[in-house]
């Protein structure tokens, strides 16, 4: 992995006696796309504001490229922010908006003109110099907000739910745009969102947060396939989270039935949580299944059918392209490598809280 750029050391922050961040530690590397992902109130925006200098941590320090910037005001920090509601300057035209930071830094007229052209080209809005922000659509305003930030050549771009206000189609389009821009600029992106799909699509690294704690840090694949606890499993995608007992290495007892798995090192007869993704549950004829059950619900979701199967006293969520009507007797089978074993949470703080978003 490339050079380490930002360290957050033991950051704690509370508002009105309410703990928002508790001893948070995080390292961000150069040229990394890091996403802070979590439900509202998990501390992700506060973390971003501490990075940007808009909030000061109660304890802990922010180290940027070896320097302590904890108490540096935002106007002196080598990073720029793209705000959730764009925050364009409505009394200035697009060119003036983009030039704002450069004029403060007293850059030459030619330099500024070049930069404006370059930035507008990067965000695909050439020729918009003289338009007013009000006359642009939400997506266009967001692009201008990005252009205004990147002309200052920040080493890190902070993005606070920048696609939150856009409609689905535009959001998906902008996700690809953002990846392209990041690759073109070669700088670090720190991205805040509560949208797991956005996080999975764009990130190099996802930091899943809940209640002021980091739940898991990892690549999108590892977060999705190997969630470390029930909160992460539940927050990222749909999943079946079942209490189980690890009998021995590579053998787990789920709902009283023995399943082969691939995990080792959990000990003997230890209570654990298992996660099985709904697309990993195979429905087979009853006699071929490890568990037998009855289909209780069926919904057509477009790409697949979503079914609930009552088996072993648990309602299994199943995604399958094959239709099994309600009332049909089916067998359930899960491949050993699709069973993810997790330790039970040790303390209340780690206790996973499922929040619907």
């Amino acid at each position: 992995m490339s050079k380490e750029l930002i360290h957050l050391n033991n950051i704690s922050k509370s508002f009105d006696g309410q703990m928002v961040l508790d001893e948070l530690n995080l390292t961000i590397h150069e040229n990394e796309f890091v996403t802070l992902l979590g439900p509202s109130g998990c501390g992700k925006t506060t973390t971003l504001r501490i990075l940007g200098g808009f909030a000061t941590p109660d304890t802990g320090s922010v180290i940027f490229d070896g320097q302590d910037i904890t108490n540096l005001p935002p106007n002196l920090r080598p990073l720029n922010t793209v705000f959730q509601k764009y925050a364009l300057f409505t009394h200035m035209n697009i060119a003036e908006n983009i030039a704002f930071g450069l004029k403060i830094k007293k850059k030459s007229k030619d330099y500024i003109a070049d930069k404006i052209r370059y930035a507008l080209k990067l965000v695909n809005l050439e020729g918009y110099e003289n338009r007013m922000p009000d006359s642009l659509s939400g997506g266009q305003q967001q692009r201008i907000a990005i252009a205004r930030a990147i002309v200052n050549e920040p080493r890190v771009l902070l993005l606070d739910e920048p696609l939150g206000a856009l409609d689905l189609k535009l959001r998906q389009e902008m996700q690809y745009e953002l990846i392209r821009m990041k690759n073109e600029l070669g700088i670090t992106f720190v991205y805040v969102t509560h949208d797991q799909e956005e996080a999975l699509t764009m990130s190099d690294t996802i930091v899943v947060m809940n209640q002021g704690y980091i739940q898991q840090i990892g690549s999108p694949e590892s977060i999705y396939n190997e969630p470390e606890n029930a909160f992460v499993a539940d927050f990222i995608g749909d999943s079946n989270i079942i209490s189980a007992t690890m009998i021995e290495d590579k053998l787990v007892s789920i709902l009283g039935t023995r399943f082969a798995c691939v995990d080792t090192g959990f000990g003997h007869n230890k209570p654990v949580d298992v996660v099985i993704r709904p697309e990993d549950v195979e429905l087979v004829p009853p006699e071929e299944g490890i568990l037998q059950g009855v289909v209780s619900h069926l919904i057509f979701k477009g790409v697949h059918y979503e079914m609930e199967v009552m088996a072993g006293g648990f309602e299994w969520l199943v995604h399958s392209t094959a239709l099994h009507p309600v009332g049909e007797k089916v067998g359930i089978r899960v491949d050993p490598y699709n069973i993810q074993i997790m330790n039970k949470p040790e303390s209340e703080d780690e206790e996973a809280v499922a929040i619907d978003i």
């Binding site: 808009f54 106007n75 002196l76 409505t90 009394h91 704002f100 205004r148 930030a149």
Partner: protein, 260 residues
């Protein structure tokens, strides 16, 4: 038929509202000294007015006080709004309530209490005390017109300016202030009008020998009504009318901008 009735009704309302002022205006052009008969059209009362040193001095005082008090009240009121905007909602509501009370207070109460306050502080009555009292009653009007603008502001705009490298003061004047301008401008004009218009509070706080237009008219009228006063009142009415039109037109310019 119904339409005609409606029109008649409206005409009646306007007649009642504006007949007194219209009478005054007509009389200000009346060549005859008595109100009873029309002696032909003349500008002579206006001419006499312009040559009356007392009146001109009072006019000067009025304009000076209106200008100074509205400028100072605008600065204080705007700063107050910035502070109130950072308060918690509850505290802010209470503060807004407190600043609104003086507007609802009867002028005579405000006037007498200011007078008593100035006496107890041992201030010499004159231009200074008039100015102080005008600033006092003007501040709430400024706050009333700036605060809604303030609340509409997107707080991220200020942060965005900081983020792009502007120090706090630069950030305020470059991005927050322009968004507040329509509110500040209409607050200023409202304060100016209120100051121009005031009689009661000035009457209690002016001291001997100093007059503004309204107190001057009052003294003159007690001595017997001269047509010059009609002319003067007409001018004041027109001036205030123009100012009010300006106040109402100012915010429209911003909002009237076309959206594509």
């Amino acid at each position: 038929m119904r339409n005609a009735l409606k029109k008649f009704y409206i005409a009646l309302i306007f007649l009642f509202l504006y007949a007194p002022i219209a009478t005054l205006m007509v009389l200000s052009f009346n060549a005859s000294k008595t109100r009873a008969k029309w002696g032909g059209f003349t500008f002579k009362w206006y001419v006499q007015l312009v040559h009356n040193d007392d009146i001109l001095r009072a006019l000067g005082n009025t304009l000076l006080i209106a200008l100074l008090s509205s400028v100072i009240a605008t600065v204080i009121g705007t700063i107050a709004c910035i502070a109130m905007n950072t308060m918690k909602k509850r505290t802010r509501t209470i503060m807004m309530g407190i600043t609104n009370i003086p507007m609802l207070n009867a002028d005579i109460v405000t006037g007498i209490s200011l007078m008593l306050l100035f006496i107890s502080f041992g201030l010499r009555f004159g231009m200074g005390t008039i100015l102080l009292s005008h600033i006092t009653f003007n501040i709430p009007y400024v706050i009333l017109s700036v605060m809604p603008r303030m609340k509409q502001l997107n707080p991220s705009v200020y942060e965005a300016a900081l983020d792009l490298g502007a120090p706090p003061v630069t950030a305020f004047f470059k991005v927050v202030f322009p968004d507040l301008t329509p509110g500040i401008l209409s607050g200023f004009l409202m304060a100016f009008t209120m100051s121009l218009d005031d009689f009661i509070i000035t009457h209690f706080t002016k001291g001997a020998g100093v007059d503004t237009l309204s107190t001057k008219i009052y003294t003159e009228v007690r001595k017997g009504i001269k047509p010059e006063m009609y002319a003067l009142s007409t001018i004041i009415f027109v001036a205030v009318l123009v100012l009010l039109l300006l106040v109402n037109a100012a915010p429209d310019k911003k909002e009237g901008k076309t959206r594509v």
